[in-house]
């Protein structure tokens, strides 16, 4: 598959603040590419630069193998954008909004009518097509926002945090919709600070922090990059200081944290990490109320690479 987007050493400064710090991205055709990072990490700035809305200080941006400029109309015809904020006309109905935005791309009336119909069906807003946006719930509004961005059937779709402030049911519908668009052939660039979503739908992920691409790969590849293979947590446990040292010496354990009666043990990748630890607890008659084991998440990846939580 060829690269549909190539971003090379992109630098964007806001006076003293470096919003994008030599960011490099290569997005292949057919991917659902996730840009994961906390708020203010530079995800939206990167998208705005790629869309040629924002000036940047340095770097090269190519979309569809063409350098992207504000007058790249040919490339723009094949791009759909779903903004972070709902961007629709309050005074137009659901149908009219989709028809208006589709009309910016599609001149043929008959084809546009068909596309608008399909977009409405895609986001399941058939019952609401005559309603004004202010009468729609948050979830429906987000779906309208998506329909406005994808009605013209673009080959490349940017979705900038499309599920912010959306209830779980609507969120699932949106995520399913994104996967359906991808199956129909669209390449998706998806930004979010919800790691579960990114993990659920993205085929490739870049973790962004302080405008830098700190890691890229599939969800599994990213998890392989870190030391943590498993995190085991004990609740309501009483330990003596020497016991903590002994736990640290158990095979593959590399980090132990004991606080307020809760014990968190991080182990390197390997099978049956829990068994030797449970054996130790049994041999030393250590009681606890609960134990749980968790495989690493993207948050762990982020935490280990940057030293802070994804949602900090």
């Amino acid at each position: 598959m060829s690269n549909i987007i190539e971003v090379e050493n992109l630098v964007k400064r806001y006076k003293e603040l470096i919003a994008l710090d030599h960011l490099t991205l290569r997005i292949k055709e057919g991917e659902i590419y996730g840009l994961l990072g906390p708020n203010g990490s530079g995800k939206t700035t990167a998208i705005n630069c790629i869309l040629s809305l924002l000036k940047y200080d340095k770097g090269i941006i190519k979309v569809f193998n063409q350098e992207m400029t504000p007058t790249s109309y040919k490339s723009k015809e094949n791009i759909g954008v779903v903004m972070q904020n709902v961007a629709v006309f309050e005074e137009l109905s659901v149908y009219e909004n989709i028809d208006y935005f589709c009309g910016l791309y599609i001149k043929d009336k008959v084809r546009r009518k068909q596309l608008v119909k399909e977009a409405i069906a895609f986001v399941e807003l058939e019952k609401f097509q005559k309603m004004r946006p202010k009468k729609l719930s948050g979830g429906l509004l987000r779906r309208l926002n998506i329909a406005c961005g994808i009605a013209h059937k673009p080959k490349l779709i940017f979705l900038d945090e499309p599920t912010v402030a959306v209830d779980p049911q609507s969120r699932n519908k949106i995520l399913e919709g994104i996967q359906a668009l991808n199956k129909e052939g669209a390449t998706i660039v998806y930004t979010s600070h919800y790691m579960e979503e990114v993990e659920q739908i993205c085929t490739k992920i870049s973790i962004i922090d302080h405008g830098k691409n700190i890691a890229t790969g599939t969800s599994e590849e990213l998890k392989q990059m870190i030391k943590t293979g498993e995190t085991i947590t004990f609740s309501n446990i009483m330990l003596k200081p020497f016991q903590l040292d002994e736990i640290k010496n158990i095979a593959r354990v590399f980090h132990v944290q004991y606080e307020d009666g809760n014990l968190q043990i991080k182990c390197r990748r390997g099978n049956h990490n829990l068994i030797p630890i449970l054996d130790y607890m049994k041999q030393n008659n250590i009681v606890f109320s609960q134990v749980s084991s968790k495989l690493p998440t993207l948050n762990d990846v982020f935490l280990e690479i940057t030293g802070k939580e994804l949602r900090d």
């Binding site: 791009i79 935005f101 910016l104």
Partner: protein, 376 residues
């Protein structure tokens, strides 16, 4: 393109706030004007007005003196006297105004009222026709008398009014200022549309800016829809004034409509320019809306919306302001064609308005042609 104009038109007419300012507010104001001015007209019947004329020895303007004397007995009773005496009589209310025959003729009044407004309009009509009078005095002095007579004729300078059926010319002037204000309220629509093509101002604008459309057609689409809505609103206002309030704006409807149409374009262009300007870094939509409202009200104030004498005063003191104030230009155009039948002045004003519109929209396009922003 028509498809996009249609939706932008619909977006505007469904906007309650926008339509209030563009349509309902002028209608409310017209109703209030009608009630106030008609009552005022009914209350005061027309009679010849006593005035004093003070001639300056050094800078007398004989054409003005002749002009005032030619009105003697018809509209005014003129007494030539010293300044001291005239001021005493003015204070006692024995004369309603004092005309000063100086190089630039002027008028002193003690209070405001219909009679004083008539005196103001007499002076105003002289000032606006002074060049013509002087030219006749210098080149064809024998024709001066007939010119002064023609200036007095009903359709040339001062229309003799029937107080029972029609409003006085001064009252009409308030309506002309109101039409000017309503035209300039197109600024709100222009502003709204200008905000839609600047990606740094809203997500909606950003979404429109990423579409494969050139900037120029986008500007044309947005301006066309704003002008269409504003012209429709103004047509409704004119219809309301004429048919519902029963106020005759004269018979020159084509000229009135042309002025209104160009006034609307100018209003939209002013709003568009304010929308495009980036005076400060964080200028919000609300700040710009207030700026449009403030500028429009200021222009209307100087054009005489709140006080008829204001435009006359500016004509005397800073005439250039009346030539660049869009509200004064619209009101003057209407007045010159409806009251004075002065086509030259009418077309001059129209040309200035068209020139200003082209200038404003060109600046707006120059500013908004920038398609990449430092900050979004």
């Amino acid at each position: 393109m028509l498809h996009l104009i249609k939706y932008q038109f619909m977006e505007l007419i469904r906007g309650k706030e926008v339509m209030f300012w563009a349509l309902f507010f002028p209608i409310i104001l017209a109703t209030l004007f009608s009630l106030t001015l008609t009552n005022m007209s009914d209350a005061e019947s027309f009679k010849v007005i006593d005035v004093a004329l003070v001639e300056s020895e050094q800078h007398s303007n004989s054409s003005f003196s002749e002009f005032i004397h030619s009105l003697d007995g018809k509209y005014v009773t003129v007494d030539l006297m010293s300044e001291e005496k005239s001021l005493v009589l003015l204070e006692e209310g024995k004369v309603k105004g004092v005309f000063y025959d100086t190089q630039v003729p002027s008028l002193s009044i003690q209070t405001n009222g219909v009679e004083q407004s008539i005196l103001s309009s007499l002076l105003y009509s002289y000032i606006t026709n002074e060049a013509m009078i002087l030219q006749v005095m210098n080149e064809h002095p024998q024709q001066l008398q007939s010119l002064l007579e023609s200036l007095q004729q009903s359709d040339s300078t001062i229309r003799e009014v029937n107080m029972n059926n029609e409003l006085a010319d001064t009252s009409l002037s308030y309506f002309f200022s109101l039409i000017a204000m309503a035209s300039l309220y197109g600024g709100f629509l222009g502003l709204q549309k200008a905000m839609l093509i600047q990606a740094n101002l809203s997500s909606l604008a950003a979404r429109i800016c990423v579409a494969p459309m050139r900037r120029f057609p986008l500007v044309i689409i947005s301006i066309s829809s704003a002008i269409t809505v504003q012209c429709t609103s103004l047509l409704l206002l004119l219809g309301y004034i004429h048919f519902i309030l029963g106020i005759s704006l004269g018979s020159n409807w084509i000229h009135i409509l042309l002025t209104s149409f160009i006034g609307c374009i100018l209003g939209v262009c002013i709003g568009y320019l304010i929308g495009a300007l980036r005076i400060t870094r964080n200028m919000t939509h609300n700040t710009k809306t207030n700026l449009v409202a403030g500028c429009t009200m200021l222009m209307c104030f100087f054009s005489g919306l709140m006080s008829f004498e204001m435009r006359y005063l500016i004509q005397q003191q800073i005439p250039l302001l009346n030539r660049i104030n869009p509200a004064a230009l619209i009101a003057d155009s209407l007045e010159s064609i409806v009251i004075f039948n002065n086509e030259q002045m009418y077309y001059e004003n129209l040309v200035i308005m068209i020139g200003m519109s082209i200038l404003f929209i060109s600046i707006s396009i120059l500013i908004t042609r920038r398609q990449k922003y430092d900050n979004i």
